[in-house]
Symmetry: C2
Subunit: 371 residues, 2 copies
Amino acid sequence: MNAPVRLISLLAMVLSATAIAQGNRPPPIESPVVRPDRTVTFRLRAPDARKVELSGQFLKGNQMMDKDEAGVWSVTVGPIEPNLYPYQFVVDGMSVADPSNPDLFPNERFKSSLVDIRGETAPLYAAQSVPHGELVYGFYQSKVLGRTRPLVVYTPPGYRASGGSYPVLYLVSGTTDTEETWFRVGRVNFILDNLIAQKKAVPMIVVMPYGNMMMGTPMPNSLQAAEMYKVFNDELLHHILPYVESNFRVVADREHRAIAGFSRGGGQSLFTAFNNPDKFAWIGSYAAYLTPEVCEKYFPELISRVDETNSRFRLLWLGVGKADFLYPQATAFNSFLTEKKIKHVELITEGGHTWMNARHYLAETLQSFFR
Amino acid sequence: MNAPVRLISLLAMVLSATAIAQGNRPPPIESPVVRPDRTVTFRLRAPDARKVELSGQFLKGNQMMDKDEAGVWSVTVGPIEPNLYPYQFVVDGMSVADPSNPDLFPNERFKSSLVDIRGETAPLYAAQSVPHGELVYGFYQSKVLGRTRPLVVYTPPGYRASGGSYPVLYLVSGTTDTEETWFRVGRVNFILDNLIAQKKAVPMIVVMPYGNMMMGTPMPNSLQAAEMYKVFNDELLHHILPYVESNFRVVADREHRAIAGFSRGGGQSLFTAFNNPDKFAWIGSYAAYLTPEVCEKYFPELISRVDETNSRFRLLWLGVGKADFLYPQATAFNSFLTEKKIKHVELITEGGHTWMNARHYLAETLQSFFR
C-alpha cells in the first residue's frame, strides 16, 4: 500500500464511524482478505443463519464457517495455488455471492464471486503496466432473440488512434454464461494486453457474443444440440458479423477470422467453423466437442475431402482437462479427428471443467491465431 | 413473443429435461415474472430458510414470501407503477440479489437486482428502435488508488464513423456505487440514444469514473467530506481528463464540459465545478448539496464575485425529492444559493433518495446541457 492510499484509508476509518451513525448501517466487512502467504479469510454477515459453508474451486469440498458474536461467519483457508477462482457461500443450503466483494461472475443461473490469489510474479490475466485495450459494449438488433442485445468487443491498445485493420476472434462462453463472462472471468482483455506487449500475440479484435440462443435454458450435447448450434450459427453470421464489420476496422476474410469457445461455446465454435469453412480459418475448442454423428450428418464433405479440410483450417485446436466431466467425449472427438486424418492440435491438462482451464486454453491459442 | 422465439422456448423445455438429468441441477426458476397488468411474481429457491421477504423500492415495507413443497418461496405484488426498480430478498435477515435474474445493481456493499415494469409506452431508459451508442470500459492508471481502474465511457451513435468532436459530461455515481452504476441502473446510454434520436439532447460523450476515492468506505457530508472531494477533484483533473482527452474526440474547453452526479457524486460534482470554474460550465446536482460552511471556506470568491460566477456557469441545476433523507440539507443549499444571488435551477419532485429519481434528474439535465 503506497503513502497516499494509506492516508486515505486512515481518514476513511475516521469518517466511517460518522457514516454509520448517519446511515444506521452495520460496519462494512472485508471479504475476501488474501494474505501474502496465500491464505485467505472469507467473511459473511448472516446472524440468523444456522449453517454457512464456503464453496470454491480451490477446495476439495465445502468448508464449514464459524459465527462470531456479531453474527459474522468466517473461515481461513489455504495457502491456495495462485489463480483467479470462483467461490460462493452456501447459507442454509442456498448459494449466494459474497456481498462484500464487487467482483462477480456473470451468469444467468448461479451467482459466484471471484478471488484472485497472486504468486510471486504477476499472472497473465492481471492488469500490468502495459498499454491497455478497451472493452466495448455494443448494441445490435438480434432477430433470433427478438430484442436489442449487447455484445462485448475488445479492441487492442492504440486501436482508436491507429487507423489500421485487425484480425478478429469470435469468442463464445459456456452454457448459462453471458457475453460478459470472457471479460469478467476470462480476463481476455488483460491476457491480450500482456501477450501483445510481449509480442507473443498479434494485435486483434475479440468479439464476445451472448451465446445462449435459448434464452436461459441449458443445452445438452446431442443431435438436438446441433439444431441449437445452427440457431447460433445464423445469429452470428447474419446479425453479429455485419454489426462488427460495419462498426469496427476488421479484415473481413477467412484468414483473419477465428472462432473459439468454452464448453457449449466450444461446441458452437466447432459447429459454426465446420459449417462455414469459407468464413473461418482458425478454431479453438476449450473443453468441448462434437459427436461423430453430428460431424457425419452435418459435415460429410469435411470428412470425405480431408485434404481440402486440412488446407482450409489453419488451426483446429482442442484442449481439455483430465478431470473434466466432458473428458471422455472430448477425447473421443480427438480420436475421431485422428482416425479421419483431420489435422488438429490437442492439449490435455490437469484440472476440470473450470474457467481456470478455459483461461489457460485461451492464452495458449491467442499465441497461435493469425500467425 | 414472436414465432422463432416461441419455437426455441418449446424446444428449450424439451431439452432442459435432458440437461437436468445430465447436470443434476434443480430446474431453473423464472423470477421476476412481470405481467401486462403490472403485477409481478418474485421467486427464490431456499428450502432450508425459515423466513424469506421481498424488499423493493416499489413496496411500503418488506413483503412476506410463501414456500411451496419444492422449497421455492414466492410472492405476487402489484400492479406496480412503471419504472426500473432495485429489489432484493431478505433470507433469514440476510439481503441477497435474485439468483434467477442476471440484471444486477453494481454496488460495493449491497447486492440488489433490477425489475423493469413497463407501462403502455416504452420508457426513456429502454432500448428502443433508434441508433445505439456504445459503452466503453477504458483502463487508466489511477495515482490516487495506486492501481489500474476501469472507467466507463458512453459514445453517441455514429461516433466511430463521424470523425467529429463532442462535448463531454462527467457523470459520478453515489456512495458505494461503482463506475458501472450509471450504465446498469441509470441506463444513461439508452436515455441518451432516445433523447438524441428525438433531437432533445446534443450528441455528447459521457464519462463515468469510479467515484469512491476512499476504496470502499462511505463518506459523510461535512467539512471532512470536502477534503475527500478534493481527492476526487485531483483524480479527475490529473488522471481522468487527460486519459479521456487523449483517447476520445472531445472538445476540450469549459463550454463543452459538464459535471453531474447523484448523492455523494453530486457533492463531488458541485465541489469540483466550484473549484474549477475555468474547466466546467455546466453542473448537475442530483439529491446532493454542499454546506454553506464548505462554500464559504473553499470558494469565497464564488460568493463575493457573484456576477462573475453567474456569467461563468451556464447551468447550475439542482434536483431533490421531497421524501429524500437529504431533502432538508439540499433545500438549505438551494436557499443559500438564492440568498447569495447565485443563479441556479431547482427541481423539487416526489420520491426519495432513489435511482428512479436520479434517472429522472439525469434525463432533465441532458436536455439542457450544451444548449
